[in-house]
Symmetry: C4
Subunit: 232 residues, 4 copies
């Protein structure tokens, strides 16, 4: 048995959740699961339908994007995953989807405003939207540059990837991450819901106010930090 | 067997209806069922996925919010339930969800206008939206204060909790209640549908008129009061 | 066996299609099936959940609204069905729902404009919206008057109930009918789809033009009349 | 066994995917599969519900629209399929649906703007919308003329049917095609998703910019052409 079996299994199970959660059409998404000690991650093979996946088909790749094990070609977004794993030490799962509402916001190149507690239960700021990259970067190593595009956005906005586990890539679609592949998938579903609610909120009331700071703080601290009291 | 078995069973079954009715993502919702003679209610444990629930996992809490029986921590919204049970004598079930359309309206801080008979079949007024609470209240005992926020809204608007079994908490999400936990769940689904229809109505015709009084009265009395003739 | 068994069976099967087609929440809808020779129709009992229905529970009512057979109270909308059967000789099935998009249009008190061939495949005019009835009519025999409200709308607009098998009742919701209960259910699903498409069309292009006459005529005649060539 | 069994089977399987993908209500859609050597295609019979289909019920038609084999009448849109097969040598599958969002765009008579990479992964231009045909053409051989309406639109816009495998027919609904019937069905689902995302994008930001050329080129070439690297 492969010494990577555990992350192949994790990546497989997390990938299979995407169609169940209604986050992907056909093969428009991928999940990876990393093992920091081994310095690799398991990722979905490119263009393979979810119904044909198995743990064995996951591809093992190192943090420079080099395939270590597997007969299939890894996801075309593999280099973006690799860059994020290499630079962000505390994440072990990454998800990319083209989920409908989050992608629509990405296409508008707008951050998703924080309008309510559903949003604040997860992050304390607007969901950041990274601007489209320059033509030079696009013509270069595109998926590799997408990773830097995301990190640059976080640097410019002064965000921590450990506190904000999601981003919209302008004109493209969302990426989410987390301590595990499962948590990254959870974040993708939360983002899609928050994106739909924010869309509806602006349709109903174009002057809807942002959530006030006291509520942002309260809801986030219910679920995170030393005084959290949500869950078991 | 626990002497609270009957409300644990009711609360369990009512909780399980939320995902079936499409009203919750992950654990974003909770139902409680009260026994007035015993002075307690059974409520969903915090953060436990619906697929892992069982009647035994429900937590028994008294109307001051003190846990009476159960190994798990009760829902983080438990104090809101407790306050409402303590002050509103005739309700035996409460539901909280983050259902999409109702939550979007809550985020706009607007009441949902009464536009048609689907709405009037259930309540005769706009669905009230309680304003966000003051920063002092938020910093205090938040979930406890949420109960008062709801009751204050009903007092200011002159509403009866027995006639209007639903509210939007501004910037947050809906609460509904009823004579039973099942009725409270029913009200959550009705509210979500009414919220979606009102959203669409305003999109199609921003000048859509409120339902006229004669129709409000007629439809409500078809289903409620001494001359009602709906149902068996 | 009841001599009304055949229409009880038809009404039962047609009612059961409403939840499958996503046209009803809880008990918000009803279908009836008539036998013209016997001068009666079978209709859903009031307020009974779809999962508890059976052919035996259907109620037999005559065209004056008098219950002829059945232990349960018939739908609260029974008198509307009775009036339409009594005055419109060539229909044998009627459906009432609160389907989301059609109800939203009814709440706006607007006809649904004919924007495309999906609409013209079924009717050649805008879907008519009957204005809300006068306060006197509402205070009187409401469901009985709803039947006349529908017929008055058709008279004023010069429409034939045999060519236009659907109507929106202003501030309320849709009714549809047809040669059979199954056809009436089919019309309810078509109306919901046409209502959603028209809503989206106006959102995308508020100046979207009505379908031109040549296309209306062509598409309707593909499916209806002596030269139709759709179907077997 | 019929010598057309292979395309009957392909057409049957491709047709059955339409309801699974949520692209059709009742019988509002059809798929055909062609065999270039035999000079014929298999197509859905007209007005037959999907649940009653079988490979044997597919109708074999030549590229002039003449029925070659089969007891049932072919789809009313058969002549449109025939015209496209006759003039566009490299397609072997065609799909017509009235899917909700694509049809709404067709009803607005607008091209669908290219707003993001989901769109650019498949085509490099706006989804073309052919203008409604002249009254003379409508009164003539309508379905035959619909084929020319589509081809004329491609000529005027300078598009290649091999690069752009989808079109909206103004006031009507979409057609898609491809090297196989399966690919044509895939294109119908992609078009519906792209149509929904573009609708949402304009609702969220009416000034949303078109995707820039460098990104269009990059995403399309990831999936198409000699340097593509998507899939296995």
């Amino acid at each position: 048995m492969s010494k990577y079996q555990h992350i192949k299994q994790s990546a497989y199970e997390a990938n299979m959740k995407l169609p169940k959660l209604g986050l992907v059409l056909f093969t428009f998404g991928n999940v990876s699961a990393a093992d920091r000690e081994l310095g690799v991650f398991a990722i979905k093979p490119s263009g393979v339908p979810y119904e044909d996946l198995s743990p064995e088909k996951m591809v093992i790749v190192d943090f420079d994007g080099k395939t270590i094990e597997g007969d299939l070609r890894p996801s075309s977004d593999t280099l973006t995953h690799a860059v994020l794993y290499k630079h962000w030490d505390h994440i072990n799962g990454i998800v990319h989807t083209h989920s409908t509402y989050a992608t629509a916001w990405a296409q508008t190149q707008r951050d998703i405003p924080i309008f309510g507690t559903t949003h604040a239960d997860h992050i304390t700021v607007d969901v950041p939207c990274a601007p489209p990259m320059s033509d030079e970067m696009i013509a270069g190593d595109y998926e590799y540059q997408t990773g830097f595009q995301i990190m640059d956005c976080f640097k410019e906005k002064g965000l921590s990837y450990e506190e904000v586990e999601m981003v919209l890539v302008g004109n493209h679609a969302p990426f989410t991450w987390g301590k595990t592949a499962d948590k990254a998938v959870y974040n993708s579903a939360v983002l899609e819901t928050v994106a739909q609610m924010a869309y509806l909120t602006e349709q109903i009331n174009p002057q809807a106010p942002r959530l006030k700071d006291a509520l942002i703080k309260k809801h986030f601290e219910r679920k995170h930090g030393p005084n959290s009291y949500y869950g078991q």
